[in-house]
Amino acid sequence: MSSESGNSPLDLGRMRRERQQKLASEMQRQGIDALVLAGTGNVHYATGATWLTSDAGRAICEPAIAIVTPHGQPHLFTPYPEGIPADLEPGRRHGPLAPEFPEGVAELAAVLTDLLGNTSLRVGFDELSAAAHEHLPRLLPKMTIVNAGEVLAPAKLCKTADELECIRRAQRINELAMYDVHSALRPGVRQCDLTGIFLDRIFELGATGNGIDPIWQATPLAIADGPFSVNGDLPFPIPSTDRILRQGELVIVDSGIKYEGYCSDFGRTWLVGEDVASARQRDHFKRWCDVMSRVLEIVRPGTTGLELNRAACKGENDRRPWLDHFYLIHGLGTESAEPPFIGTDLGEDYDESVVLSPGMVLVLEPVIWDDGHGGYRSEELVAVTDTGYRWLSQFPYAPFDTDGRWRW
């Protein structure tokens, strides 16, 4: 899949410009003079640059760093010149910085002084190395360190058309790969075998990176038969190994890939070696569908998170129909989970403060759990539109939908 073609147009240059404008206006509104960004998703958001996808250790030691001011393009410091967007002005392209080490922090301080001047400034950081935490306040005594998240969160909250298209493509690649994985699911296959098929397919289909170690969790039907659980709820997600999957096991699937920096989020429940779910399992699925229907019915601009929370819970009297340690709904963008969050332990007042707006992406992840008999979890992605929502995900529910194709 080419990055510049598809069903609807994707203009990466426009996407970068619009994101930079949002950051600039949010910085001006909050009186923040600069952002220093080191988080993978944040640097991608601010610059559109790409780099070698890796674990955190490599990403920290050979990082891409963005310094954003309210005026003009961001400054990008990267060890991957080939990952610099073509439209980034030459004066904004720089060699790498390494604030992980004290020597690199001194260099960062010099760069900040050079770019911003040695005056009293409010500078937002998303994360600090231990060395930056220790040395930066001394090197730049006039600088006030503030939380860059205060600027990033509102800028990222409502997606532009190009961002939505990137998320749609990420989700599509993820789903297409899952067709191959699901057809390989049979007694005796190992979790790592499914991972192999998945990783092979996502790159073939155009993914620019994998986001998380894919989850193929073989889930006992009773919580007490599984690992010890701190909150008493279903332990999930448990990392994959070479575990052998066996006939009839309930497998809860979760994965996320990246396309041009944007995440997908795929969640389904599968059964090993079974073409049809039992009547009780189909009932779990039906209850899950009912929760989804009640929530989606009121997804439109102006609806609050608390209204969504209550709609999900209506009729589900024994437990809230989602995982206690997660949420009913999370957002998604250059992070696999970002605001809006609905149904977390931040509580009802917080949920009430969340008001849906056009461009928000919602990942709905209700979970039905019938202890002793298993349950059902799947995830769906929608984007809030001017009048309601539109789907960003589309994947069958086999073997829980009796006729092989469940429809809303």
Partner: protein
């Protein structure tokens, strides 16, 4: 008895677990606690997954890229206890009791309360942290009001860089898996194949060994020739491109075994099936010879007492230009630190002095107008020199000599 040829494999054997993980964890944790005493840290609060894994052996979910700091692991020196942010005990070593696990929270007030419940944390005077965020600078002030928060990352790096025998067994296993996976990509290499298909082949073979996450997505990139008299640039980001017959292809990947990284890199000519050695071009063999010359100079300095700057100087003395990436980095639970040739310069490199037990990824790139040659080896520093842990062939370019 010292078995000089390690019995590498990922399956536990009836008579031998191959790696004694209980011993591995015990040694690592004790080293961390001892270092805390030396540096006068009452408590360590770790957000970096590699540090938490080193200190505890906890196997938690792999995610690509950075994660912002949050207290995911707390070590209290006074009682030697370890507390982990984890909602379940799967992946948590048995020596960590269940009541030392604390649950995930999205609510800073709840998170702070859970931390306050850790005995010895609220009264700490000196807390070591491995990273920070502006929000946690404030919140940790609520958890331990009297404490100063100091950089512990340098201390942790120092510990992690010197490997135990058990750690080396893990790294050797990881290198063997990385080589097997790279060999699968090499097997798939043929004219017309796309770069990303090679990445898929690497991953497919990696997972056959029970591994579900790489340390990096690796480089599977054709090196395009430059104009006459120029140096071909190496790309490191695998793309959609189809690889032409006769192209040189940089191939490099890394895998994680029990958290430890094994990595290897080679350059292979894209020769069609049945074409044979006649298709190997003399200019490409020259590039490989130049690469070997740099490698020999750098490897010669891989011995106790040498500094990162000595490696850099050896590289430069070969007459080759330093590549736009470090020529040596410390490797253990993932990438630990650049040791030589990074953008931080020679003074930074001089701070690292090689010691027995250190493991380095050593990489070099040479280029001409006909293309370039990239190679990465994993090297163990031994008491009297070094041992190259990677053993995969350099392929047709070497054999054609």
């Amino acid at each position: 008895m010292v078995n000089t040829v390690p019995n590498l494999g990922v399956m536990a054997l009836e008579d031998d677990g191959r790696v004694d993980f209980a011993r591995l964890r015990r040694q690592r944790r004790q080293r961390v606690l001892d270092a805390m005493a030396e540096r006068d840290f009452d408590v360590l609060i770790l957000g970096r997954e590699a540090n938490a894994r080193y200190a505890t052996g906890a196997r938690r979910l792999w995610m690509s890229g950075t994660r912002p700091f949050a207290p995911g692991c707390v070590l209290v020196h006074a009682n030697g206890s370890v507390h982990l942010l984890n909602n379940w005990d799967e992946g948590i070593p048995t020596e960590i009791p269940r009541d030392h696990l604390f649950g995930l929270s999205w609510n800073p007030v709840t998170y702070v309360e859970r931390l306050k419940g850790i005995p010895g944390l609220t009264s700490a005077r000196r807390i070591g942290v491995d990273a920070m965020t502006p929000l946690w600078r404030q919140l940790l002030g609520l958890v331990a009001p009297a404490a100063e928060l100091r950089d512990a990352q340098a201390m942790l790096l120092e510990l992690r860089m010197r490997k135990s025998a058990e750690e080396l067994r893990c790294i050797r296993t990881a290198v063997a898996i990385a080589e097997a996976s790279l060999a699968a990509a090499i097997d798939a290499l043929r004219p017309g194949i796309r770069e990303r298909t090679l990445l898929g082949a690497f991953n497919r073979r990696m997972t056959a060994y029970g591994i579900t996450a790489p340390s990096m997505e690796g480089t599977f990139c054709a090196i395009e020739p430059g104009p006459v008299g120029s140096r071909a640039r190496v790309r490191r980001l695998t793309s959609d491109r189809h690889i032409d017959a006769g192209a040189l292809v940089a191939l490099s990947g890394g895998v994680l075994y029990a958290g430890y990284e094994g990595a290897v890199g080679r350059t292979w000519p894209c020769i069609g099936p049945g074409t044979g050695m006649a298709a190997v071009r003399a200019e490409h063999r020259d590039l490989r010879r130049r690469w070997t010359a740099v490698w020999n100079r750098v490897a010669d300095r891989c011995r106790p007492g040498a500094t990162g700057d000595d490696l850099r100087a050896a590289y430069e003395a070969s007459g080759e230009t330093l590549p736009p990436f470090p020529i040596a980095y410390s490797v253990g639970i993932g990438y630990e630190a650049p040791i030589a040739g990074s953008s931080l310069g020679p003074i930074f490199d001089r701070r690292w002095r090689l010691e027995p037990g250190m493991v380095l990824g050593v990489q070099a790139y040479v280029a001409g107008s006909a293309g370039g040659y990239f190679g990465l080896e994993t090297v163990l520093i031994t008491p009297d020199g070094h041992e190259v842990l990677s053993s995969l062939s350099h392929g047709p370019l070497l054999e054609a000599d």
